[in-house]
């Protein structure tokens, strides 16, 4: 008999201005190459330092965009737990992340609500920074259970309007 899985975070637990737990991560060449290959991005500036320096004019290989999306997803669902279901994400890329950088992801709740189908949501502003420099911003919306028995993943068709 399996134990029922319960939501870790409900909409009512969340308020505008709340900060998500910060995620700091030391980026290595392995981080960059593993992320690029996981995203099936074979372009040389994500694994070949000579190419990145000579052809892209960057100081090293750098994190690719789809893998950054995966970092943002992890950052959000570390906070929500498995019942959190992403509705949308908007990215703005401002700078590159290189081996040797310690990247920090920080996020704030900018809005909460329940849509016309009854789906609870939280809007988040997330920043990926290295030191004082913002490298990527992500505005995200994630669906959260409204009650212990609610599950955003159960919504389909007209009941899911992200």
């Amino acid at each position: 008999m399996s134990t029922p899985v319960r939501p870790e975070l409900l909409l009512g637990d969340v308020g505008v201005g709340d900060a998500l737990p910060e995620l700091a991560y030391p980026v290595t060449a392995t981080t960059v190459v593993l992320g690029a290959l996981a995203a099936r991005d074979w372009r040389p500036m994500h694994h070949d330092k000579d190419f990145a320096v000579e052809r892209n004019g960057t100081r090293d290989i750098f994190l690719n965009t789809p893998n950054q999306a995966a970092w943002f997803e992890r950052f959000v669902t570390d906070w929500t737990g498995p019942f959190g279901r992403l509705r949308r994400m908007t990215f703005r890329m401002l700078g590159s992340v290189f081996p040797g950088d310690t990247m920090a992801l920080r996020g704030t709740v900018t809005g909460t609500g329940v849509d016309r189908t009854g789906c609870g949501w939280a809007a988040l502003d997330i920043v990926l920074a290295v030191g004082d420099e913002t490298k990527t911003t992500c505005a995200a919306a994630v669906a959260l259970p409204v009650t212990e028995d609610d599950n955003p993943w159960g919504r389909r068709g007209d009941r899911w309007t992200p």
């Binding site: 399996s2 029922p4 899985v5 991560y25 981080t31 593993l34 992320g35 290959l37 996981a38 995203a39 099936r40 991005d41 074979w42 789809p66 893998n67 999306a69 995966a70 970092w71 943002f72 997803e73 992890r74 669902t77 570390d78 737990g81 498995p82 019942f83 279901r85 992403l86 509705r87 949308r88 994400m89 908007t90 990215f91 703005r92 599950n151 993943w153 389909r156 899911w160 992200p162």
Partner: protein, 173 residues
């Protein structure tokens, strides 16, 4: 691509182009490799019991949507694949705008993607602005949607890209 006139743009808006099927079904190996690359311990992807209860079976991380369409580095007898966002390059060439940038992109997630799914993608031009002058130069903004559907035709995700094609300020007209 030949020159695009104002009448041609109206005919391109809302029409799916460059329909393409992913070259392999959605599979869990890549899900695990991706989760491992960002140390994502979400039990949805690692614990079948949790996935069964919460998502009705295994799903792929929503942000992996474009991963399923990146072509193999090599494949036997392969013809040249369409570029991602081919419409962006068509507009740049057809409107004779030598430079172009992508300002931002949005992904909206719909039906969950599951191992075994065969996904199809298409590109849809949503809008092209009148000529505008920005600090980069004079050009036009456009919005391109990339739609992803599963084998039942259900929408899995839409990526929207805002591009600005332009001629540099002070450059030859």
């Amino acid at each position: 691509m030949s020159a695009i006139g104002p009448g041609d743009i109206a005919g391109m808006i809302g029409v799916p182009q460059y329909v393409e099927e992913g070259s392999f079904p959605v599979e869990r190996g890549y899900v695990w490799t991706t989760c491992s690359s960002v140390e994502n311990g979400n039990p949805l992807f690692w614990d079948d019991e949790v996935a069964a209860q919460v998502t009705g079976g295994p799903v792929a991380p929503p942000t992996m949507i474009s991963v399923w369409f990146r072509p193999h580095h090599w494949a036997p007898g392969r013809a040249e694949a369409a570029l991602p966002l081919q419409i962006h390059f068509d507009l740049k060439d057809g409107l004779d705008l030598p430079e172009a940038v992508m300002s931002d992109n949005t992904i909206v997630f719909h039906e969950p993607v599951r191992p075994g799914d065969r996904l199809t993608t298409s590109q849809v031009l949503r809008s092209v602005s009148e000529p505008k002058t920005t600090r980069l130069g004079r050009g036009r903004f456009w919005v391109i949607d990339v739609e992803y559907r599963n084998q039942r035709g259900e929408l899995a995700a839409v990526e929207s890209y805002t591009g600005f094609g332009y001629r540099r300020a002070g450059g030859a007209s």
